[in-house]
Symmetry: C2
Subunit: 657 residues, 2 copies
């Protein structure tokens, strides 16, 4: 990936960005504010910048005067970086950033990725679950009339030192013709036992040498989105990847409505069929994209939350939503993929990640396996934030987990202009602390339609940092900025005026939205605190935080700590794992070590029911402030605010502190 250096003047801030990145995103990454309210679509023309050296591509617009274009002015949202450049932000677009004393960590911190084969081998983790072996068998004759399967097994024993072999019926059914199709030269697919005492099963035979083509599919079954990867079991490479909306969405947006639907006559079958159809679509897409035969696929590994897992396996999730919230099972046996309706060959087994409880599912377990925290000394806090926030604390010696219901705020629920992360959703914002003019970025660079969860965190963090709201989430009533107003009796901040949106209405964030959001972040924070307390620890004991999930990948770490969503620790001790569920599924496709360890892990993981833990409510109430009633838990935030207080810029704190 080619990267270029972008230098912003007069701030003299530098950032490295990938070839083709837009200039406005480079500015956002560098912490440089440029006024922009159309989300990056080029409609407002406010983000005029001057190229001082280097070349930009595009960015010429009718919104720029011809002589300005000649001088080197471009629209930052339309111009892309194609060389090292120096950019001057004109006065009208410039931000008074000095006063903010921002934490200078860039948004993208270190990511953990799945180890490759060499790393797996080095760490002693590589035990291939499926191997293909090419064999040249002696054909039978009157003196050697071993049965076909016995011939294969004997050869594997003698020539390949294989022992304790079992054979599937499907192999018995096809072996007579397969052996004779290519003069007894065949490739056998061997499925290795997870436990050492188990048998190696011969699950497939193919004529000729197909040992080079041994593939697996890994799938993350999300409530909203299903992601699949095609993995080469010979090289460990990901050959293709694709995501689709979970077809169940038309029967309910969240887990609870899906469960309700599954309880209706025929509902379970329908939801099962939908997710199977979604996965089949993904399998079709990624095999076509990689140009491989679906017949080369030897296994499929999957992970999802407990409800998604039960629906995938056609297990009624009815009791998951009824107290005391009991799932049918947490450990699932391997199942024939074709029996579930997947478009895979008869010999392919589907292996699903075990869950811990109704609300700590296989997706979380997969994340824990994928990031490797279960093998590390380091005490890790693992978090996956969505409607529910699942929290895991532990290391290689012990592990505890809990789920807390944050409500739908992070998915846009309970927020007037809230929306899912989709095109037109405001995902990033910077607000001028003096003028309160915003710099908005939307997903897909479209005119704004609403605010997504990650945008909301940044927005509230930003508003709190610049003193637009106080620690209770209330606006300064004395403010005379036109963007801060009372509408229908509720105070709000206008992010985008109607004429710059897709919805022809002012997009704003009001105090009710903020209150709902604070409840959500409070629930998550108090979940972390309560779980830490239950295991006799505090934030100071944490060696690191791992953030998983699509949401986790987009969250602005600084802002998340500023508002008290995440415990404050040094930013370089926070890592993003991205789709942890998918990387866990990939790991279990690659090595039996993971398949073995995960069973042990789920057995040893202590699950806490927060609603049954008395301290949870106290922790929750203490967390209903920005960032928290106890500012000592957030020393950096405290330091910044004290500095600003000294500068006289802080909104009057509320009685919380």
């Amino acid at each position: 990936m080619t990267e270029y250096k972008v230098t912003f003047l007069p701030h003299n801030k530098e950032v490295k960005v990938a070839d083709g990145e837009t200039l406005i995103r480079a500015a956002m990454a560098a912490g440089v504010h440029i006024n922009a309210s159309c989300g990056g679509e080029g409609a407002c023309g406010k983000c005029r910048v001057l190229t001082e050296s280097g070349e930009l591509s595009g960015g010429i617009s009718k919104r720029l005067r011809d002589d300005d274009v000649k001088k080197g002015y471009r629209l930052a949202c339309q111009a892309t970086v194609t060389s090292d450049v120096t950019i001057r932000v004109p006065v009208e677009s410039e931000v008074d950033a000095g006063v903010l004393n921002k934490i200078s960590t860039p948004r993208q911190t270190a990511r953990i990725t799945t180890p490759n084969f060499d790393e797996l081998k080095e760490q002693g983790l590589f035990i291939p679950p499926l191997e293909k072996i090419y064999l040249e068998l002696p054909p039978p004759n009157p003196q050697d009339h071993l049965p076909d399967v016995t011939r294969l097994v004997s050869h594997l024993t003698m020539a390949n030192n294989e022992h304790r072999l079992g054979v599937d019926l499907a192999v018995i059914r096809k072996i007579p013709d397969v052996l004779r199709e290519n003069d007894f030269k065949v490739t056998a697919t061997l499925a290795r036992p997870v436990r050492k005492v188990g048998k190696t099963r011969i699950v497939n035979v193919e004529p000729g040498d197909t040992s080079g083509c041994n593939l697996a599919i890994a799938v993350d079954i999300g409530t909203t989105t299903v992601f699949g990867q095609l993995i080469d079991l010979v090289t460990g490479e990901v050959l293709a990847e694709h995501g689709e909306f979970n077809g169940q969405i038309s029967y309910g947006e969240d887990v609870i409505t899906r469960i309700v639907y599954a309880e209706k006559p025929g509902g379970l079958d329908k939801l099962h069929d939908q997710v199977i159809a979604t996965i089949n679509k993904i399998i079709g897409r990624i095999t076509r994209r990689a140009g491989v035969e679906p017949g080369c696929i030897s296994s499929i590994t999957l992970s999802g939350n407990t409800t998604m897992t039960q629906l995938f396996l056609k297990v009624n999730p009815r009791y998951i939503r009824r107290a005391p919230y009991v799932p049918a099972a947490t450990l699932y046996p391997p199942v024939k993929a074709s029996e579930l309706g997947l478009d895979l060959e008869e010999h392919v087994s589907a292996l699903v990640y075990p869950a811990v409880s109704s609300y700590v599912g296989g997706d979380i377990v997969a994340g824990v396996m994928g990031c490797g925290m279960y093998r590390d000394e380091a005490l890790t806090l693992f978090m996956d934030i969505g409607t529910n926030a699942e929290i895991v604390i532990g290391n290689k010696d012990w592990m505890a987990c809990a789920a807390c219901s944050a409500g739908p705020a992070f998915e846009g629920g309970g927020i007037e202009f809230g929306m899912r992360a989709a095109k037109g959703a405001i995902e990033d914002i910077s607000i001028d602390p003096v003028t309160f003019e915003p710099m908005l970025l939307t997903i897909g660079n479209k005119r704004p339609k609403g605010i997504c969860g990650s945008g909301l965190i940044i927005m509230i963090g930003e508003m709190f940092e610049i003193g637009l709201i106080n620690n209770l989430g209330k606006f300064d009533r004395d403010n005379d900025n036109p963007r801060v107003r009372k509408s229908n009796g509720v105070w709000e901040y206008v992010l985008a005026w109607a004429d710059q949106t897709q919805i022809d209405r002012d997009i704003s964030l009001n105090e009710i939205d903020i209150e709902n959001f604070i409840r959500a972040k409070g629930a998550i924070y108090s979940g972390c605190m309560t779980l830490l307390e239950e295991v006799g620890m505090g934030i100071q004991d944490l060696d690191r935080i791992i953030l998983a999930g699509g949401f986790g990948s987009y969250v602005d770490l600084e802002k998340a700590m500023t508002i008290g969503l995440l415990p404050e620790i040094e930013p370089d001790r926070v890592t993003f794992i991205g789709n942890g569920s998918l990387s866990g599924a990939r790991m279990s496709a690659l090595t039996n070590r993971i398949r073995r360890d995960v069973v042990k892990l789920t057995r040893n993981m202590t699950s806490f029911e927060l609603s049954e833990t008395p301290s949870y409510m106290d922790n929750y109430i203490a967390a209903l402030f920005l960032p928290h009633t106890d500012m000592n838990l957030f020393p950096s935030v405290k330091a910044r605010f004290e500095k600003r207080k000294a500068a006289g810029r802080l909104t009057k704190p509320s009685s919380g502190e």
Copy 2:
């Protein structure tokens, strides 16, 4: 079973028969000849006997004069024994039996039956494959919200000391509702591992206490007939039994024609469907008869020859009939019964007996397991005679086997009036050595239609004993008895005149029939001799012979030795196992010990290919005489013949001796 004593005068021969047996069968069992040529239908009126004491039921006929009835005369074929009786055979019906010096062993010798539970336990053989355990689980509450399966598994671990438990997906699917249907009181079905290191699988859960109802089905898949038994796994009892013709019969009478049909497009599917339909019919019949729910059936175990097994499992048997006669496999994994199309619940596994080779199949292995010879010190010759005769020799330390193709003579093939064992088939015969008048018994006591295999053995043995044919199977050309005649250039003996048959033709046995028969018996005898030679042994080393199969059960031991079909050993060292395949299937339904031992057994059994053994042809040629070229192998027969020779009654021996 009530038995009565029947005494025949003037012979003063006694026999014990079951209540309700016909008098003529009692006479046959006692070795008393009564003229009778209508097969026992009451049509010829020749079998007039006088009741001297005791009571008979029935036997009064228009063929008897009224005053004779008053005197106590009855037709032996129509009268049944209902008390101890003394019967006088009148002169006209009497046989000159004295000269024959028959071996006095009754036809029915000791039978080996499957051990019952107590015996299995005493012998350390009882390891139940499937157990049902009733459990009262504590219902979940806010402090105890274990997942359903975990709740079940924990309880089994704590309260029942069960370990290493696996759970099938079907159980996960049903457990939430089953637990809540009867207040968490459930019965779990546990499938025990065959190998000690294996897992116990929970294969079913049912509401309430159903532990008393734990059934299995055992099936013998014969080429002609399929037999099924319903077995109570709690008591070990056989609750019901039923046989049906194998539905595949319409696609070919024997194994070879079935294989040919299976090679046609759709042929394999059709044959598979047919045998499945036959087994389903049997399951329906035996469950209805026993008045049990098919849902109580926990397992099905099956055995059949290699072709029947492959057709049952839908494995193409194409290469079984092509040199070098290679089956697809000999060991088969357990398969879901419902997947094969059997009308059994989803959790029921079908376990099929392993084969040794294309021609020594699972039916033979099942017989060896069922009779227990593999656990005994005694050196045993195990034989199952049909179109092929399968022979096993060995004891607990070693085992060798072979199959020899006898041709279809024993099933009536190549015999002019030959037929399968069915109603109207002559199954037993006695011939007056002076008058050559026959005493015929037919299956179902119908007028004769033809001769079945077991009848043929007796017939040829009888004809040879009384000197009607010589040791080459040729008639005495000087005979002037009307029943011995030349027809269309071939010598024959008339068994029944046209007016006493169902077919309105004289039923006879001719020299071509006898020649075909001698070839068949010669093949079997030489198979035994060759196999014994291959393992460095002789007949004198045999401790016992076990005869299996429907045919084996009906064979007349004395006659079989007289003609040289079986090696001559003391009759009390010969036992009949009946349907050994079925009893083996029953054994593997009852105990895992058998399931474990059988795998070891088939691995250790040496299979000989007789056609590849040079001495086989020499042995075969030597066996093409009655009983054999070497009369020293048949000392009793030799002794009898020398006695008769001295009495001047023997037909001139042919140049064979």
